[in-house]
């Protein structure tokens, strides 16, 4: 007969065991986290201090600016924007609330006019602007390399990659780390027999644009796997394989949490999280470590900028010391402003970014704009109007 004492004794045994079990489980879980290892020592190209450019050619400060600005856009520039925003708030007491939501979101929110300014690492195309509520002034703010970061605990030096191999990995055609193609590029490295965990963006992303632009230029396999050049480059990609991470933040987290993970990130994310990243083969055929200096080399030779500054700088340099996957990131502002205070605040903030802000960039693993381009960018600020007259004096 089922007497009650049976039930009670079960209970007295089970109940105290529960928390013990739970603590045990939590203890074995707490070891997780980004298990990145320090990246390789800087190559000779990257060694040394980055010199701040010290631009002084900004526009005069416009009075009557609003005390806060609302911006949203690429995660690529988000760490930089946070630093600019905090510094600018300290010096000029204006709060620039920048939400790191992805370049696609930056453009979408400009089109919907739900923010004061947008930001994207892929400039707005004519069809993007057609969907906006008026002409948009686009100005580059800073440039930076997109790195191919990976999580292989034993390998602390930069692996060598070329565009075709990276293209095959992200197309799902190379699935383990000890694939002959990877071994061939890294004959002296003992690459482990681990499955490759591809990590890409789940959101519309300018970083994706820069990365897929590079793959499209360098990897025929990538282009054919995606079904043609019109589909193999863009802010969103029909990824055949992989984990989708939200923002550069999410990609870096997923790479850090998965042994065997590989993903593409803006440099400062990889540096801050101690992720190892690859040396990538450039047009001149050399394997280049990404850093502020090699990214600067990638745009150093460009002199003929279009008047609207919409230019693709990814993998165009033939400089032997240029890191190929280097991109610009653009601020997106409506040209015809209607609110005087907001217009003044916008001009003042971006003026700060293009002058003093460039000095801060070099210390945060972002690459300041070259002098030629910076001059043109200040010119873009002068195009912003309020009721038909330019805001900047």
């Amino acid at each position: 007969m089922g007497d009650r004492s049976t039930g009670r004794s079960w209970f007295s045994v089970m109940l105290p065991a529960i928390p013990v079990l739970a603590v045990g489980l939590s203890a074995c879980g707490s070891g997780a986290g980004s298990s990145g290892v320090p990246s390789a020592t800087p190559s000779p190209l990257c060694a040394g201090v980055n010199t701040p450019p010290g631009h002084t050619n900004g526009v005069a400060s416009v009075s009557g600016g609003a005390s806060s600005l609302s911006g949203a856009g690429g995660t690529f520039v988000a760490p930089m924007m946070s630093i600019w925003s905090a510094a600018y708030n300290t010096s000029d007491h204006v709060q620039v609330a920048y939400q790191s939501v992805g370049s696609g979101a930056g453009i979408a929110q400009v089109q919907a006019a739900t923010v004061d300014f947008g930001e994207s690492d892929a400039f707005m195309t004519d069809s993007d602007i057609a969907k906006a509520k008026g002409p948009v002034v686009q100005t580059p703010l800073v440039q930076a390399p997109v790195v191919v970061a990976y999580n292989l605990p034993e390998i602390t030096s930069g692996l060598h990659f070329d565009g075709e191999t990276v293209g095959k990995i992200f197309a799902g055609q190379i699935t383990t780390w000890n694939d002959p193609a990877i071994k061939k590029l890294n004959p002296n490295v003992n690459v482990p027999n681990l499955p490759i965990a591809v990590v890409h963006r789940s959101d519309g992303s300018g970083t994706t644009f820069i990365f897929s632009d590079f793959l499209t230029k360098e990897s025929p396999t990538w282009v054919s796997a995606l079904g043609g050049k019109d589909k193999s480059v863009g802010k969103t990609i029909a990824w055949p394989v992989g984990i989708g991470g939200k923002g550069n933040e999410g990609v870096s987290a997923a790479v850090g949490q998965n042994s065997g993970g590989i993903g593409y990130l803006e440099l400062s994310y990889a540096v801050a999280q101690n992720l190892t990243y690859a040396d990538v083969k450039n047009k001149a055929g050399s394997f280049i470590q990404p850093c502020v200096k090699t990214a600067a080399n990638a745009t150093a030779g460009i002199t003929d900028y279009p008047p609207d500054l919409r230019i693709d700088v990814v993998d165009v340099s033939t400089d032997a010391d240029a890191y190929p996957i280097t991109g610009l990131t653009w601020a997106l502002v409506y040209q015809k402003q209607t609110d005087a205070a907001k217009a003044a605040a916008l001009v003042n903030f971006f003026n700060y970014v293009l002058t003093k802000g460039q000095d801060v960039a070099a210390t945060a693993d972002y690459t300041p704009l070259g002098a030629d381009l910076q001059k043109l960018c200040v010119g873009q600020l002068r195009k912003i109007t309020l009721n038909g007259t330019p805001v900047a004096a």
Binding site: M1, G2, G7, R8, F11, L25, S26, C28, G29, S30, G31, A32, G33, V101, G102, S103, G104, A105, G106, I107, A108, Q109, Q111, S127, D128, K131, P195, A197, S202, D203, G204, G227, G228, D230, K231, G234, K235, T236, I237, A238, W239, P240, V241, G242, I243, G244, G245, K246, A254, Q257, N258, G260, G261
Partner: protein, 337 residues
């Protein structure tokens, strides 16, 4: 106005209450109040109706452009191809999201329903009486933990804990041809299965709570009859409690299913967000209807992208409505709460 209250006016005139007003003004105030509460009641219907209408209106351009049912006949979501394939096929197929929602919910249910029924039975019929209240409060507490916390915990605590187990499954069962396909590796932590597991924990308390009420409604004399006939405790549960609770358990499970179907943030954090197509293994990455909305909504720039996300929202609403209405009908029939 009932005759009773009409007669009461005289009583009030003899013993005036401070709240009493003159007849007409009182009646006017009464009907204004009645109209006001009726209006607030109407807000509930209005919100629900507006939701359906707005989702349809916002999704309509995409539905019109690609064909009304084209999204639920295609399992390929590729916004990047939208400008290239402006007519057909619809690059915004959502079958894989419906699959993700159904699969993760099913995994959640398979785990949660037995546990919840068991927990509810312990609370109503097995545990010592003084432990029943604390036990039921503790199980309820599971529902108080916010979704975003479950997702966070899932990423950092659950995934490392299940990794060895899943790696074992993928390297044994997963390598068998054909039947091994749904269990194939490699396992990268975030997956349909992980999302299902987190969902199981999240829907367990709600299923347990409804089951508890259902089991409590078992007539005492039937239990006594079973025991008097010499039944063990388990036999009593099987003979007296479970048979009449069947529809209640189904209803409780449906309410849990309704929660699972709509759960967003925790799932988005642990499912891996692979939107392109259905991945055959439960240990592979995927996406659900709600996760794709959360991920892509604020940044849709491709043609018909935002509209198609509203289409996803519309179908999600339809699924949720059907599951919830079914649940309410079954529960109402099964128990008089």
């Amino acid at each position: 106005m009932s005759p009773a209250s009409a007669g009461g006016i005289a009583a009030i005139e003899r013993h005036p209450l401070p709240i009493a007003l003159r007849g007409e003004r009182r009646r006017l105030g009464d009907s204004v109040f009645g109209a006001a509460v009726a209006l607030t009641g109407g807000v509930v219907l209005l919100v629900l109706a507006a939701m359906v209408v707005f989702l349809v209106l916002q999704g309509l351009p995409a539905m019109r452009h690609y064909g009304f049912f084209s999204s639920i006949t295609s399992q390929r979501w590729a916004p990047s191809e939208a400008s290239a394939t402006l007519s057909t096929p619809n690059p915004y197929g959502i079958v894989q999201f419906i699959y993700g929602t159904v699969l993760t919910s099913l995994i959640g249910m398979v785990i949660a329903v037995p546990l919840a029924v068991g927990a509810a039975l312990v609370i109503t019929d097995v545990a010592p009486r003084r432990l029943r209240r604390p036990l039921s409060s503790l199980v309820d507490l599971l529902a108080a933990v916010p979704s975003v916390v479950y997702g966070f915990w899932g990423l950092f605590a659950l995934i490392p804990a299940i990794r060895p187990v899943v790696d074992f499954i993928t390297s044994t069962l997963g390598t068998v041809p054909v039947i091994g396909v749904p269990f194939g590796g490699p396992f990268f932590g975030v997956s349909y299965f992980t999302a299902g597991l987190v969902l199981a924990i999240m829907i367990l308390p709600i299923i347990a709570a409804v089951c508890r009420e259902v089991f409590r409604s078992t007539p005492r004399n039937e239990k006594e009859a079973a025991v008097a006939l010499g039944a063990t405790r388990w036999e009593m549960i099987r003979i007296a409690v479970l048979p009449r609770a069947r529809s209640g358990i189904v209803g409780a499970s449906l309410i849990g299913l309704g929660r699972a179907v709509g759960e967003t943030i925790a799932v988005t954090m642990v499912i891996g967000n692979a939107v392109l197509h259905i991945n055959p293994s439960i240990f592979d990455q995927g996406a659900t209807m709600s996760s794709v909305i959360a991920n892509e909504f604020t940044e849709a720039t491709e043609p018909f992208h935002l509209e198609s996300l509203f289409v996803v929202g519309f179908w999600l609403l339809i699924v949720a409505l059907v599951v919830n209405m079914l649940a309410r009908v079954v529960v109402r029939r099964g128990v008089s709460l």
